[in-house]
Amino acid sequence: MSIDKDTVAKIANLARIEVSESELESTVGELNNILDWVEQLGEVNTDGVEAMTSVVETQLPRRQDQVTDGGYRDQVLKNAPQSEHGFFAVPKVIE
């Protein structure tokens, strides 16, 4: 399965990364090299094999569904490039 320029443009859009026309060209080659290489996994018979979900055999801890922490609005906003009235601020969105 090799990918073309349109596919890379589509992935880049999904990943929200701007890629210029000239970068697209080189990216296609680089990604195909990597994808060709990982495709050797096709040789492995995985019939009836469970996909790994956790490397350590353990159960996720449970706790009561209660608020135990919070109230950090100012700290949360401290590193924001732009904040207003206690909110993150972004460019105007009108659909």
């Binding site: 990364i17 990216t27 469970e50 996909a51 790994m52 490397v55 350590v56 590193n79 490039p81």
Partner: protein
């Protein structure tokens, strides 16, 4: 006078406890050495004032009789760890100006025990790389150079700044993180001990995520004993990381007994890869002989899916990275590049903020998770990952630990592999399988290449078998008796 920067952590601790010197003296000596070694580019920020303040507190702890193993020890912290109010950017442009309002659990543990932070160390951006050439802050120079050469070599990666800082004696020890080999491979390149503990042994809370099912904290140190002391402070259960494991932290240093008689050491035949340099092969055989001489039994084992570990890793890790790195959007922290619309702002910010390797992995990850390809790539890789983990389970029914080389070569020259991502990925051929299985591994400096560069041997252990792993590593370290140090060419030597 004691040459403070040459001390191992264990010796520095003993000196501090006996009152031979103070943490302030030790810390000042390291801060001076850091200034002298600035051209190595090990640190992206030096926290000199904070270090001295922490040193004074440590001296008070020691006086009060509250000293722990790391009390008063000046260490470097990989930039990937969130440290309150201090540069924490995982060496990425996209986190420009980010200063966390909180402290990672691992560093909190170290500070609670009185360790002293010298600064934040350089690394590959988001821990993606094997040479430290992917940092927004420029590459790190390995203090080691080939005999008679004036060419710079890479310190390995991604914990390259941490490794180079310990090798150059500008930190006594340093924290690293290991996703596919990012502690063990730089340890091998810089002549150090590097320990990646079992997944879940250390809390990941406050570590900037790359691939969450693989990321694990660990130390880079001058000796196995030092690694035991560091990991004892760093490790522990943390309710804030649901994947951290709720089991007591043993006294790791006490596990260093030196007796490996009757222990079964597995040698996996699949690690004899094509084109492996003869000197690596020889060193491996030497390691086998050392452990045999110490009374261990050598067992041939097979890990049949070894050759699929790297391709599996390069699906799983990018998939997790593309998801984890979705949070960098120019809204919550770090860099923002303005655009015509919200979407345009996201795209421009992420295009400007991420480096080439990070973008490459986000794109690969996005592709393998996208509709229509998820089963063929991601699900397939997670199944192969199960087979890789099963290989280890089967092997450990025949042996207690596994001995392999750490990396397929010694440190290479700066710039040599930067244009060939696949060649760079192959650096982790021996470290990635255990990462995928969540198992602990340690690299021990075992010899020098023909060119005079350090080479490491890797020991892999069973889940939460760090005590045994450290004990065997200690025996190997004693047998190898690796005393070589890089010849100083930087700073006041030039």
């Amino acid at each position: 006078m004691t040459e403070f920067t040459k001390l191992t952590l264990a010796d520095a601790r003993d000196g501090l406890h006996k009152g031979d010197f103070t943490s302030r003296e030790l810390t000042e000596a390291h801060l001076n050495a850091i200034e002298d070694a600035s051209e190595l580019n090990c640190y992206v920020t030096v926290t000199a004032d904070k270090a001295l303040e922490m040193a004074d507190q440590a001296d008070a702890m020691i006086k009060a009789g509250d000293a722990k193993g790391v009390t008063g020890i000046p260490i470097g912290i990989k930039d990937l760890y969130c440290t309150k109010g201090v540069h924490s950017q995982t060496c990425s442009h996209i986190l420009d100006g980010f200063k966390p309002e909180y402290e990672s659990t691992v560093t909190s543990n170290l500070w609670a025990d009185g360790a002293v932070m010298l600064g934040k160390t350089n690394q590959d951006e988001f821990a993606m790389g094997s040479s430290n050439e992917n940092s927004h802050y420029g590459p790190v120079k390995n203090p080691w150079r080939a005999t008679g050469s004036d060419k710079d070599t890479v310190p390995g990666g991604s914990s390259g700044g941490s490794a180079a800082s310990v090798a150059a004696d500008i930190s006594i020890a340093a924290t690293g993180t290991d996703t596919g080999g990012s502690i063990r491979q730089p340890a091998s390149f810089a002549g150090l001990v590097g320990l990646k503990p079992t997944y879940g042994r250390c809390s990941r809370w406050g570590m900037i995520a790359f691939a969450s099912s693989l990321d694990q904290a660990g130390p880079l140190t001058k000796s196995v004993r030092d690694a035991a002391i560091m990991i004892e402070s760093m490790a522990g259960y943390d309710p804030k990381d649901s994947t951290s494991y709720d089991t007591p932290v043993p006294n790791y240093e006490a596990a260093l007994g030196g007796d490996v008689r009757g222990l079964k050491v597995g040698i996996p035949k699949e690690y004899r890869v094509d084109g492996m340099p003869e000197e690596i092969e020889k060193l491996w055989q030497q390691g086998i002989d050392w452990l045999k001489d110490a009374g261990a039994e050598i067992v041939d084992i097979s890990l049949p899916h070894t050759k699929y570990a790297l391709p599996t890793y390069y699906i799983v890790a990018p998939a997790e990275c593309s998801s984890n790195l979705a949070r960098y959007d120019g809204v919550k922290y770090g860099l923002r590049v303005t655009g015509d619309s919200l979407d345009d702002m996201y795209k421009k910010t992420r295009a400007a903020g991420f480096g080439d390797e990070v973008k490459r992995r986000i794109l690969i990850g996005t592709y393998v998770l996208s509709a229509g390809y998820y089963d063929a790539y991601y699900l397939k890789a997670q199944k192969v990952r199960t087979l890789i983990a099963n290989d280890f389970k089967a092997a450990y029914s025949k042996c207690d630990v596994i001995l392999t080389p750490t990396a397929p070569s010694a440190a290479f020259n700066l710039g040599d592999k930067v244009d060939d991502p696949l060649a760079m990925y192959l650096n982790d051929v021996f470290t990635v399988p255990a990462s995928l299985a969540g198992l602990p591994g340690i690299s021990i400096p075992a010899g020098l290449s023909a060119e005079g560069l350090p080479l490491g041997l890797q020991l892999l252990g069973q889940a939460f078998g760090e005590e045994q792993l450290l004990n065997v590593a200690d025996v190997l370290e004693t047998a190898a008796d690796f005393k070589a140090k890089p010849t100083k060419w930087w700073g006041d030597a030039s």
